[in-house]
């Protein structure tokens, strides 16, 4: 069975989104895009491009929170970079949304474990990428279902916003570093969750 990997951009002060959690991110207020400039800002290096391509190779399916999907579905576009089925943690059933290039958003209403099971079936032994947001990440982490945490650490202090690591209980969770890759405007950190 594949691994479950959380993959998110985070500011040095621990935020994965600014305080204006809407689909019109406001740069002045620390909107979403400042955390993703390293990827989408038009200045991403060939190393970044290569990193991104490699990143998706072992992935067979994705999981995303409903709010994150609402924010992301626009920017991710008609031909999303995922090229795999994405399962959406949802409260309401709705028809799947199919995009070009192999990405389809499936809505699952039966909680994190059932969603993971569906993703695993679709992934066929490959890894599963948890795309966020914070709430989904926290739920999987707390349930002990995460195998790896891949963070793209952006050198900025947002001061406020949506924190990644909150509401994860008070049990110490030990991690092990797998790799650290430094690039202009971002440091990629990979950790294994010790279970």
């Amino acid at each position: 069975m594949g691994k479950v990997i959380l993959d998110l951009s985070m500011s040095l002060d621990g935020f994965i989104a600014g305080p204006k959690d809407d689909d019109k991110p406001d740069r002045e207020l620390g909107g979403l895009d400042i955390l993703h400039d390293w990827r989408f800002g038009g200045q991403s290096s060939t190393e970044t491009e290569a990193y991104e391509v490699e990143k998706f190779k072992p992935m067979g399916a994705g999981i995303v929170g409903r709010r994150m999907l609402e924010l992301g579905i626009g920017p991710w576009g008609e031909n999303p970079t995922f090229h795999m089925p994405i399962f959406v943690l949802s409260h309401a059933t709705r028809k799947p949304i199919t995009r070009q290039g192999g990405t389809t958003y499936y809505f699952v209403t039966e909680g994190i474990e059932r969603t993971l099971k569906q993703a695993e079936e679709a992934a066929g032994g490959k890894d599963i990428m948890l795309l966020g947001g914070a709430n989904a990440a926290q739920q999987y982490l707390k349930a002990g279902l995460l195998d790896e945490i891949h963070l793209h650490l952006v050198p900025v202090l947002l001061g406020e916003g949506i924190r990644l690591f909150e509401n994860i209980g008070t049990e110490q969770i030990n991690l092990e570093q797998m790799s650290v890759i430094e690039e202009p405007g971002v440091t990629h950190l990979r950790f294994r969750v010790i279970k």
Partner: protein, 192 residues
């Protein structure tokens, strides 16, 4: 004049102590994990970083941090034999300062920085704890660099480093990344 560097060990989830900080456990329950890179690592890169502390001109500490640490620091302060002058931000001067101690006391952030820079001359000044002091220095725009020793652990609770910044939006530049098993040492320059 040297640089002002905020220097601290932090868990991946942003805590500079674990839960239940008290005199017997200054870093909280299990919080000593944060300092393993400094005290319990054979990695030469960690030793080298620690040794750099000796070349500092002065250190600034909060009072709470001082109270918790002084039993271990004793008269020589946080850098041991190097005896780097240590300025404590405090509204009062404690009664039982160790004899021959490296400590001086200042009743405001600005006064502490002035004393520290005077003592440091051309050398750098490091701010070492706690979160409150860090936030005040950052808000006043007095920090030149941030040095984070990022420890691969999630505490889930404790004292958060970045909590009182309001909506200050500070752009940084990563200047150094050193990977060791016990901690990832990250250094940032504040872009002003």
């Amino acid at each position: 004049m040297g640089k002002v560097i905020y220097d601290i060990s932090m868990s991946l989830d942003g805590f500079i102590t674990a839960a239940n900080v008290r005199p017997e456990a200054g870093l909280g329950d299990g919080g000593e994990r944060l300092h393993e890179w400094a005290f319990n690592s054979a990695d030469p890169r960690n030793r080298e970083l620690l040794a750099k502390g000796a070349s500092l001109g002065a250190i600034i500490s909060g009072r709470h941090n001082y109270d918790l640490a002084v039993p271990y620091w004793e008269a020589d302060g946080p850098t041991g034999d190097a005896r780097v002058p240590t300025i404590v931000v405090s509204h009062s001067v404690p009664q039982d300062i160790p004899n021959g101690g490296v400590y001086r006391f200042a009743d405001s952030i600005e006064a502490a920085l002035e004393k520290a820079q005077k003592a440091a001359g051309d050398k750098d000044v490091a701010i070492m704890g706690g979160a409150n002091i860090a936030a005040q220095f950052l808000k006043l725009g007095l920090v030149d660099e941030i040095s984070i020793h990022l420890v691969p652990v999630l505490f889930g609770s404790g004292i958060r480093l970045f909590e009182h910044l309001d909506s200050a939006h500070v752009q940084l530049e990563t200047t150094e990344v050193i990977e060791t098993k016990e901690a990832i040492h990250l250094r940032f320059r504040l872009l002003k």
